[in-house]
Amino acid sequence: MTKKIVQIENVGQSFDTKKGRFVALRDIDLDIHEGESIALIGHSGCGKSTLLNLIAGLTRPSSGVMLCGGREIAGPGPERAVVFQNHSLLPWLTCFDNVYLAVERVFAAKEGKASLKRRTHEALELVGLAHAETKFPHEISGGMKQRVGIARALSMQPRILLMDEPFGALDALTRANLQDELMKILAATKATMVMVTHDVDEAVLLSDRVVMLTNGPAATIGEILEVGIERPRDRLALAHDAHFGECRAAIMEFLYHKQLKRAA
């Protein structure tokens, strides 16, 4: 087995609200291995994003232990880059400057300006946006913005890439396109990825393991599905693949039979 990057042991998360204590997550145990792609799936409101924020260090768990590279996660860090659902680019900076902000933070201590600029350029090239460097976020399409968001995350050379429904706001064709590109990028950079999604196809297509969460409140890991489909994966070929269908069916069974939301 390869090295564990993130270890989540017996983690629970609860919030104090006006109505009393609200338990969002309980008893989460999960190890994320180097180079692995994991999809977190579950009904909306089940705490997928909460779990991702915990790994990112944006929030601290109420109980349990979270380790990254053997050290406790005490806050956000450059080794865990986040891609947000709504791209979160700064509208007053060009695409280049948006990425440069991240590069500068991570590498400015050791490298000169030319090297930082080269890294920024490479990150944008990786997502196929070298030509749009000087554009501002409002001048490019939603898909392109999301790519800049991915470039910003990748430019930090993180050990793990955390994605919160990165393609959720995009149309189906753009989404498929970006999924394919993400697979190529992950293969090329051998990056580790955790992605929150509510799209069954996306989960099976992109990940090695699909982590299914039970319904909240007090959600926990219900099942973990090993996808085990050879890479590189081709979406057209997989459309008629029996094993792909089985994986899909297993997740659907979990979501729509075992964890059917009564009043959704």
Binding site: P76, V82, F84, S88, H138
Partner: protein, 328 residues
């Protein structure tokens, strides 16, 4: 038009709701004007512009030159004619109202007085008798100094208030209490502290222009989208970078709204303050001409004050447009 603008001003300095509504309202027009004329979009428009030009150079032969000029003239007429008609209506009513004589001079009389007045705007005939140009400049100087100090104090204070909830809880009741007070009520305090009329007038301007800047800046800081702050946290940016790259650009449109409201109020207040303090200044000049019973000069002063206020407002609109950005 200028009268309506001035009449609308006191609402801005009155209740809490007014400024909040103003801030909310003005935040939108900035985006709208930004859409029309985005400074940042110029790079993108270069490409489009080339294509447009190509398209235009292909089309002119089909359209006769005279036709195009006619169309342009018609468009110009459409934008110029209604305001001109409004102005003519105003002057017409003014003329009719003063036709039968009485204390108020008619348009013709005022025009003659204006021509005489503006033929020598920069004369100095002793401390209490100077040209209208000097009076306007003296008022602008007071507004500039008072407003400048208010900006130096108010904008940082607004950032602090927006960033630290405790501070805003401490100071908000005080600000709410003091803001509705007419700045002229502060004039005696200024006279007492500074012992001279001139700094006292500047002090009044300082007081009246500081509130909109504090409140709008603070509101801008609290309205910085959480997404951007999350980016700052995930990228682990230093406090300085958070300020220069995220906080300041995000707050800038709100800040400019505050500045615009402040300048407007300051220009409104200076006239009244100078009436009380005397010296050189457009407000004092109005009062002096009243004492001399030169009513046509008072009417001229009203127009001058309105036009200067309009120019100040438009200049700041231009600045605001330059720094506006589109959110999405």
């Amino acid at each position: 038009m200028t009268a309506a603008m001035i009449a609308a001003r006191p609402g801005n300095m009155a209740g809490t709701d007014a400024t909040e509504a103003d801030a909310g309202r003005t935040a939108v027009p900035i985006d709208e004007t930004g859409n029309e004329l985005p400074a940042t979009a110029s790079a993108a428009k270069v490409e489009g512009g080339v294509k447009e030009k190509a398209g235009k150079s292909a089309s002119p032969p089909a359209e006769p030159l005279a036709g195009r000029i006619g169309e342009w003239a018609r468009a110009a007429l459409r934008t110029v004619l209604p305001p001109l008609a409004g102005l003519a209506l105003l002057i017409g009513i003014w003329h009719l109202a003063t036709f039968g004589g009485g204390g108020i001079p008619g348009p013709g009389q005022t025009w003659d007085a204006a021509v005489a007045l503006f033929s020598d705007p920069f004369y100095i005939d002793g401390p209490n008798d100077q040209g209208i140009g000097w009076n306007v400049l003296a008022s602008l100087e007071r507004v500039g100094i008072g407003f400048g100090i208010a900006a130096l104090v108010g904008i940082p204070a607004g950032f602090l208030l927006g960033r630290f909830a405790l501070l805003s809880q401490m100071l908000n009741p005080i600000i709410s209490l003091l803001r509705p007070v007419s700045p002229l009520a502060w004039l005696p305090i200024g006279l007492l502290v500074f012992q001279r009329a001139d700094p006292a007038a500047t002090w009044t301007i300082f007081i009246c222009s500081i509130w909109p800047m504090i409140l709008n800046t603070a509101q801008g800081v609290t309205r910085v989208p959480q997404d951007y702050l999350n980016v700052a946290r995930v990228l682990n940016l230093s406090e300085w970078k958070v300020f220069t790259r995220i906080l300041f650009p995000a707050v800038l449109p709100y800040m400019l709204t505050g500045i615009r409201l402040s300048i407007g109020t300051a220009w409104l207040v200076i006239v009244a303050a100078e009436m009380l303090t005397g010296g050189v200044g457009i407000g004092f000049w109005v009062w002096d001409e009243w004492n001399n019973l030169k009513v046509e000069h008072i009417i001229i002063a009203i127009f001058v004050i309105g036009i200067v206020g309009l120019i100040l407002e438009q200049m700041l609109m231009l600045v605001a447009r330059r720094f506006s950005y589109e959110n999405r």
